[in-house]
């Protein structure tokens, strides 16, 4: 069974952490993965940096710009993670925009992911219908699960369709927003969490975009299977460096 599915069966209140590959330094990727694994997170998303990450907020945008100017690219990333599985057995997802993947060659990209034993992909600008029509089989053949996003605006019908074609989890965008850390969630957001939760989807739900601390994590986790944290972790890396990862994750622990 796939590591992602296994994680959702075996664990509750999942904590998945996103970081941008190549940030703060070009060769931090493996050290960060080790630190995260050590700190007890449940899942890791490696961001493949893109020059124009239009679904992301300023924190991730900036880390991407720096990562690129550090020299990060697709080949280097795959090279860095080729021995990934000697380090961690956590589910690992690559998050990247479509253009760099196309330029690499989608088949080639999937093959490399398979070689590195990557578990899944999040490609924010790959639309559901195009995925379904063109890439579903390809991904499957390479043991890659593809995660889709839903937002407060996504219609019930569309959510049901996404649920049907999903085989990993559904990425629930917390609000109308690009990525970025928020302090608290408003009533509207909580209502939305509840509404989706009550749909009893077959896919597990992770809440992302705006989770920054224990409080937001708690609220999100009540109505989902867990959370994804990105900007808040990157801010931490910027301020305190890789070595403070464990401390950061500990502060996020809920009971």
């Amino acid at each position: 069974m796939n590591r992602i599915n296994k994680t959702f069966i075996n664990k509750k209140n999942i904590l998945s952490i996103y970081f941008t590959a190549g940030y703060p330094k070009l060769h931090d990727t493996i050290s960060i993965i080790k630190e995260l694994d050590n700190s007890g997170v449940d899942m890791i998303e490696i961001g493949l940096p893109f020059s124009d990450p239009l679904a992301d907020g300023p924190t991730i945008q900036e880390s991407s710009t720096i990562a690129l100017s550090n020299g990060m690219n697709t080949n280097i990333l795959f090279d860095q993670i080729k021995n990934l599985r000697s380090i961690t057995e956590l589910p690992i997802i690559i998050m990247g925009y479509l253009n760099p993947i196309i330029q690499y060659g989608i088949e080639e990209f999937c093959l490399k992911c398979k070689e590195c034993e990557i578990d899944g992909l999040i490609v924010p600008d790959l639309p559901v219908d195009i995925y379904y029509e063109h890439y579903h089989d390809l991904f499957k053949n390479h043991n890659l699960q593809n995660m889709f996003l839903i937002t407060p605006q996504t219609s019930e019908k569309r959510i049901r369709f996404i649920d049907k074609i999903s085989n990993g989890f559904i990425y629930m965008v917390s609000s109308y927003s690009t990525t970025g850390a928020q302090k608290i969630f408003g009533d509207e957001t909580i209502k939305y969490f509840k509404r989706i939760n009550q749909m009893k989807l077959r896919s597990p739900l992770l809440v992302g975009f705006g989770i920054s601390n224990k409080e937001t994590r708690k609220v999100a986790s009540i109505n989902s299977d867990g959370v994804i944290i990105g900007s808040a972790y990157i801010n931490m890396l910027t301020k305190h460096g890789i070595r403070q990862t464990k401390k950061f994750i500990n502060k996020l622990k809920i009971d």
Partner: protein, 394 residues
């Protein structure tokens, strides 16, 4: 029959589509479901056409350039989009989109701008309708295009600097998209060219197609013949070109020439000639040709003209290139600037530097004495005076 128009899925051949994050899906879907229905309704058409006539100043003339024609021994017409209110073709599109936004009940408008022409055209229609307007503009462009920034502010728009990435047009576009993601319900995003996710390229091309439609009527009156031999336009994103070409796309008697900015030269690394330097990829939600690094990072283009300084071209144009329906010619800064002066001194028309690129084709291609050539005179050069002054030491 092979068509060069958009298909039902939003593609031009292999190009186009809507490669957007899910957060934008409802907005784009709302547009896709409504743009044709609304824009083909009688009340919309009446209102659109009335504003184009009474406010924009349409029809713009089709002007026979006598001295230029004599000099080049052919028949040269200028479609005078430079005479549109605000000084370029851009306003045809913003009028269409603001009316659409009103019908969709939107209360807030956002737009990106590079040279500032689209920003001014957007701020203008927002003032006209009394709707709140926010323009994203790269921090560097804000400095380069001060007069247009002032115009937007005079018109009551808020100009927000895009401080990410290269701080120019593509980053302003990213910021506008982010704003739209964050304000999906009350906001309409007025894209300024035939780029972005479907239905934008088709929608913008339709609003701009008035350029080509008028040309047909005017040629009929002036030449007793409704089709030219050539239609020629500069291509930044491609909206002025799309507007002129639109009615001729599937009429193969009419030759199409797209003129791109070669910047300092194709091989200098400072260029914006996307068709030559670009590869297929995804930019701003559209599959098209774009300038990018080997691993798919979008590269910053260069042109002396801020309006041609875009790393992609619209999917319609990518398809025109791929299918060879259109001939693509690229023109250097130097030749474009020279033609700004030639047009000024031969016909008394100071063109936008974008527009100057198109005319430079006259030195690159031989035309026959009886050829009827329609150039899209997409904009006036007032916004570029500083650049002209500095370049020619006037």
């Amino acid at each position: 029959m092979k068509t060069h128009n958009v298909n039902s899925k939003g593609f031009y051949g292999e190009f186009g589509g809507a490669f957007i994050p899910e957060m934008l899906y409802p907005n784009v879907e709302e547009l896709r479901n409504n743009y044709l229905k609304i824009s083909s309704s009688k009340s919309f058409k009446n209102e659109f056409n009335k504003l184009l006539k009474d406010y924009v100043g349409r029809p713009t003339p089709l002007y026979f350039a006598k001295r230029l024609s004599e000099k080049y021994n052919t028949r040269i017409y200028l479609k005078r989009e430079d005479l549109c209110h605000t000084g370029a073709h851009k306003i045809n599109n913003t009028i269409g989109q603001i009316l659409l936004a009103k019908k969709l009940g939107k209360k807030r408008i956002i737009a990106e701008t590079g040279a500032g022409q689209h920003g001014v055209a957007t701020a203008t229609v927002c003032a006209l309708m009394g709707i709140k307007c926010i323009i994203y503009m790269g921090e560097i462009d804000i400095k380069r295009q001060a007069p247009n920034v002032a115009r937007m502010k005079m018109l009551g728009a808020e100009v927000r600097p895009a401080i990410s990435g290269s701080k120019t047009l593509k980053d302003a576009t990213n910021e506008a998209i982010r704003d739209w993601i964050n304000n999906p319900v009350n906001t309409h995003y007025i894209i300024g060219s035939v780029v972005g996710p479907h239905p934008y390229p088709d929608m913008v091309a339709r609003f701009q197609s008035v350029i080509g439609e008028e040309t047909i009527d005017q040629l009929q009156e002036l030449e007793n013949k409704s089709t030219p031999d050539y239609v020629i336009a500069c291509v930044g994103g491609g909206s002025n070109a799309a507007g002129l070409f639109y009615p001729f796309l599937d009429n193969f008697d009419v030759k199409i020439i797209c003129v791109e900015a070669a910047g300092k030269g194709i091989d200098t690394g400072e260029s914006a000639a996307t068709s030559i330097l670009g590869k297929t990829g995804i930019i701003h939600g559209s599959k098209t040709l774009l300038m990018q690094s080997n691993d798919g990072q979008i590269t910053e283009p260069y042109s002396i003209s801020a309006g041609l300084d875009y790393p992609g071209i619209g999917p319609m144009h990518a398809n025109l290139f791929k299918s060879k329906r259109g001939e693509f010619i690229s023109i250097t800064d130097q030749d474009a600037m020279k033609w700004g002066l030639i047009l000024s001194q031969t016909e008394g028309i100071i063109p936008a530097i974008e527009t100057s690129h198109a005319f430079a084709v006259l030195d690159k291609k031989k035309f026959k004495p009886n050829d009827i050539i329609v150039f899209n005179c997409s904009g006036r050069g007032d916004k570029d005076l500083d650049t002209y002054i500095e370049y020619f030491k006037l």
